[in-house]
Each structure stands twice: as C-alpha cells, then as structure tokens.
Symmetry: C3
Subunit: 267 residues, 3 copies
C-alpha cells in the first residue's frame, strides 16, 4: 500500500534527482525518470556538482564509465548532499572488474550511501565475497547474494537492493523479494542504471528509504511485466516500458506488485 502512496507523492512533487551516471545510461535514465514522474538532472562536474546537490532532492552515483573527473564530481556531490541532509544512492557498476573500480567503489561505500543497488556479482564483490561476474554483467543469481546484502546493509546502516530476475531488498533487518519484470530487460542496456535513478526519485521524497526502494523496484517490475505483453523483442520492449512507467497508477502499482515479505533476521 505504501508504494502506491509514494508514487502519488512523486507525481505530485516531481522530485529533482541529480544523476551522476555513465554515458551509456544518461539518456535512458533521464527518460525513465521523466516517465515515472521525477525530474532528472545530469550534473556531474566537480565545479558545480556540490552546489547543485543543495537544490536536488536526492543524488545518485553510478561508476559505469569511470574517470578521474567523474570521481571528483562524485565526491563533491556526495559532500553537498550530506551537508544538505539529503539521501543518495550508489550503483557500483562492475565494481569487481578492475583495480580502479574496486578502489573507487570501496571509497564510495565508506561514505555510507542511503541505498546501494547492484546486481548479485556487484553486491557479492562489495561485501568482500567471490563473484563469477565478467565485465559489467552479473553472472550470479540474486539468491546467492542475499546474505551478502544483509551484511552490507548492516555495515552501511542503509538499504541494499540486489536486482535480477527476482529482486531482493534489505535494510539489514527487514527484507523482501520482488518479482515481475521481463526477460527483455537485461537485453536493454542501462536499465539497471536507470533503476538506480528511480530509487533516487523515491528516496528523494524523504520517507523511509527501505519502503522507498521497495516502491521503486515494484514500479519498475510491474511496468516491465506490463510492457512485456505485446513486445516482440528488446527493441519493441523499450518504448512500451516507458509508456508503462508513465501510465502506472498508484492503485495498479499496489495491486500488481509481487512483493514477498521475508522473516526478520536477527543481526
């Protein structure tokens, strides 16, 4: 029920989300946010990123196409966000792949993101466990990263979301699994990065980050399942998905979300 209320609140307030994301994702992430009801701004240069964080409702940081200027911009933006008391979301793309990514993702994790969203390979790697991921793809199933996600959430004090065929969200104590989506989604580049943006939009509303993350993932999963109908491949899926993100009503979100609440696990 909370997800529908949050969706209504997003449509009413159009939260401004500062997205520092990779070059592959910038366009589709902006379109996902616009379709869902938020207002994206891709502001990443260190000279203005911290200042801009003061006017945005949330920040998202994605390391997909890393470089020194990006890292400087991320640091400035996170400092600005934290000074303003706003939430931020970390997307540790392919953090297991190179020494640079391992170092930068560890540094960003130490800054205690409100939410971390990654695939199973990334979450395993962030938690210090071995992964089978190659390049930027996750090769690991979500379910084998659930314990790592709980541990990571206790470490950061925030929310951790592992996304894949079935998603898993935890804040260390509470945990849910979320079904839905479409097999065409992993064949559309940067839909994970764009979901990170949507998490930013929901946490930017200022409420409970766990419920906000569940709402973002549910919105995505229901729209993905709806867009799958009538799509004949990854190409025809994409415009249908944006249409579905836009058309989804609070009532349809609550009715369609496939959320399974798991037992609370003692820390």
């Amino acid at each position: 029920m909370t997800s529908g209320l949050l969706l209504k609140e997003m449509r009413d307030t159009n939260p401004l989300v500062q997205c520092i994301t990779n070059y592959v994702a910038m366009n589709i992430a902006a379109n996902v946010l616009l379709a869902a009801g938020a207002s994206p701004a891709m502001v990443s240069d260190a000279e203005e990123a911290g200042e801009f964080a003061g006017i945005a409702h949330a920040l998202t940081v994605n390391i997909g196409t890393l470089s020194a200027p990006f890292v400087e911009g991320m640091q400035a933006a996170i400092a600005g966000t934290q000074a303003a008391g706003k939430p931020w979301v970390l997307d540790p793309v392919a953090c297991q792949a190179t020494a640079l990514r391992r170092r930068v993702s560890a540094e960003l994790l130490a800054l205690k993101p409100t939410v971390v969203r990654g695939n199973a390979s990334e979450i395993l790697s962030l938690a210090g466990e071995a992964s089978r991921g190659q390049g930027v793809d996750g090769r690991d199933g979500v379910e084998i990263a659930e314990a790592a996600a709980r541990a990571l959430a206790r470490q950061t004090g925030g929310v951790v979301a592992v996304t894949g065929e079935t998603d898993f969200v935890t804040d260390g104590a509470r945990a849910v699994r979320i079904g839905g989506g479409s097999p065409w989604m992993p064949l559309n580049t940067a839909l994970g990065c764009s979901l990170t943006g949507l998490c930013g939009a929901y946490v930017g509303l200022g409420g409970d980050p766990f419920e906000a993350t569940v709402a973002a993932l549910s919105h995505y999963a229901v729209a993905g399942r709806q867009a799958h109908e009538g799509a004949s491949g990854p190409g025809s899926f994409a415009p249908r998905f944006l249409d579905a993100l836009q058309a989804l009503t609070p009532g349809a979100l609550d009715a369609g979300a496939e959320v399974t609440v798991l037992e609370v696990e003692a820390a």
Copy 2:
C-alpha cells in the same frame, strides 16, 4: 510559405551542423537532425572544434553537461564559426541553476549568438529576471518570458526563441507565436536540446535567421502534433516523432504550421 521553401532547401542540401551538446542529448539530437534532413557532427574538443567550424554550415552550443573541456571547445568553435562568417545557436540549459552556468551562459551570450533557444526560465534568467525554474526544468510559462525575449534579442542583435506549450520567436522587432507539439514532448529528455540542433540546420541555410527559426520550430511542432496521434505515452511517441520529422513535406509544413504573427513592437 517560407518555412516550406526552407525545408525543401534543407532536404536538397543536407547542411552540416556542428553540435556541441550535452551527453544526454547527443544521440537523440543526431537522430532528429538526420530525420529532418540535415547532417549532424558532434565535434567539441578544443583541438579540432575551431577547424571543424570552418567546414560546417552552422554551430550549436548547449551547456547541458558543462565542464572546463566543453567550455574550451565551445570557445574554439565559436571563434572558428565567427571567422568563417557562419551562424551559431546558443542553448543555455539550466543557466539559472549554478554559479558556473550563470557565468558561462553570460560569457557565451556576450559573443552574440545568431539565435538563442531556451525555455522560459532560462530566457528570464539570461535577461536578468527572476525565474521559478528548478534544476533543468522550466517552471515558468512561455508567455511571461516574452518581454524578456524581446529585450534579449535587442541586446544580442539576434533571434530569441522561447519554447514550451506555445513557442515565441522574436528578433526584437518581429515576433510570432507557434502552436502544436504534444504533451509527451516534455517527458522525452533532450527534445529541447535537439530542437536547438534543428535551429542550427535551418539557420545554416544562410537566409534570414528569424524565418529560419520559425521554420525549425514549425517543423518540430507539426511533426510533434502528428506523432501524438496513435502514441500511448512518451515511449511510443519518440519513434513516431522521428518518422514524422522525416515524412513531413514542404507543403504539409506550410499547411500545418500554427503560426500567429504578432504586432511589431517599437524598440
């Protein structure tokens, strides 16, 4: 009638437009220009931007994703364009949002762009007036920026276009309003930035910049209105819009354009 003639000329000559635009816009802006009949080239590095400006028919400069290397490239390109006696278009994205944007947009404006195209919040800010814009979105209606646009056009000696639900174009003396488009357009990222590119294509034909800007905005507005039919959201709108930009004939442009000529206002 002029718009149709200009469209025919563009299709016959495929003007080469050098676009220095933001990372979000690059792909869709290129596709808009190709569909409309122009030839886009995203060349922005200072080492070659000035040289390239010598072979392009027009330049467009967009500050959406600012950084020092971009600013250096813009300056080199503008110098090359002006040395070659070619027109250029400024898109002051979110120029009200940060100190960096206020400074860079003022510096670029002082170089007297042939055309400035922005939303109402940006035009108000450039003209030194208060705006309600947040982030990169315009929150102000076009109509409240009309006086600012006239003042700005007199200051630069060029054309100023304020785009939104209804567009406004002025060269300080002449002025028109242009209707059309679709409510799905503001939910597609970077369609404003792409329209700036199309202004570049039309002014690159070498005629009157005011008529060229009216033609570009009319081409966009008619195609947007046509694409709206049958679209079920922002996602399905996008491919239809590119199809409509491509399919529009000079006759259909002249027949479909919703241009209202306003009284000439004394300076």
Copy 3:
C-alpha cells in the same frame, strides 16, 4: 554457412566486447551487441582500459568524439589487447575531416588493427586517396573504395570492411560484397559505429577474422532488411532492427545473407 555457425557460437558464449566508442554511439552500440548476443562494456579510461582488455574477448576503437583522454585510453587498451593476443577493430570516424583525426587515425592504423570498418570516404582517406566526404558523412560510393580497401588490407595484414548500400570486405586476397539492409539505416545515427561493435563480437570468437567480419555484416544486413518491412521511417525502424538482430536464427542468417564472392585478386 560459416556465418550461421559463428552466430550460434556467439549466442552460446556471449563474448565480452570492450568498446571505446563515441558518446553518440554508446547506448545504441550496447543495445546492438546485447540484442545480437554479445556482452558490451564501455571501458575507455586509461587507468583501467588496458587491464580490462585482458579480460575482454575483443576490443573496438572508434574515434567519433575524439579528445586527449580518449586517445590515451585507446592506446592503453590496444596495448592490453595485443599483450593478451586478442583481436581489435578500428572505426576511423570522419578521419578525413580534421588534422587531429588524420593524425590519430594514422597512428592507430600503424598498430595494425585486426579489422578496419569504415565508410568509403574514410577508407579512401586512410589509404591516402582523395574523398568527397564532408563532416562525418560518407559521400563516396562503396564501389570506388574497393581498390583502396584491398591496398589497406595488404598494408595492415588485417581485414578491411567498407560499408554502405552494399558492403565490401577484403583481407587483401579474398573479397566479398554483401547486400541487404535498409535505406532507414543511414538516417539512424551511429549504426555504423554499432556495426563496428558487432564486428568486435564476431572476431572475439577467435576464428578467422575475414569470416567473422562477413558474419557480422551479414547479420546486420539481414536484420536490417527484415526490420525495414513494416517500418514507416527511421524512428519506427530502430526498435524493429533490435528485435530482428535478437530474433535472427543461424539458419535464417545463412538463408538470408546476400553474399557475393569475388575473384581472388593477386597481390
């Protein structure tokens, strides 16, 4: 027949392709590779590009949006690729347009790419012949670049592909022409750059680079011809093309490929 076998092998192994490509192409190139069956990674920063090349199956290098950091990343990645004994593909976008592009493309060519893929204007320029190309568009027909392509292939010891309405592929001795595609393809930006990525995926399988390049171009041309049916312009073509790239079976590729084997020409 080889093309179908290679397509089956790509679907079975999902080769990891490191793409250093331009900002315009990044999203669509990633989607093309995902739809076709490969795994793209846009890793270009010099700090990690060489290391990443060690885990990728192939590298592609595209000079579309050149800058000093890109060039450093390209050099690091090529060194890493060559140290690992992996193939790489060069896409010399608009190499005739500026002094920077002429210099960088010559330097990259001297590193002996496994495959060079360009339009006729680019291949003529790389081979030291005059071209009519303006900006990033090729204005020359593929057929007038066939001799230049053969000479270039003998110079590099690799494969050269000239793409356009009909494609031409040679390794200096063998040569084929490949028909198919759609007139909407040149109105979709960066489809040439994306094809370079697909060449990387096929050569990344580790077999004969000539046969791999023929397979990549055939896959593209058959999917393009299929996507043309029912498309009403460049916009509606794009999602159909991704669907067709994904849906194409090895049998349909072999049955549909329009490959004409030319006489072997003595060196």
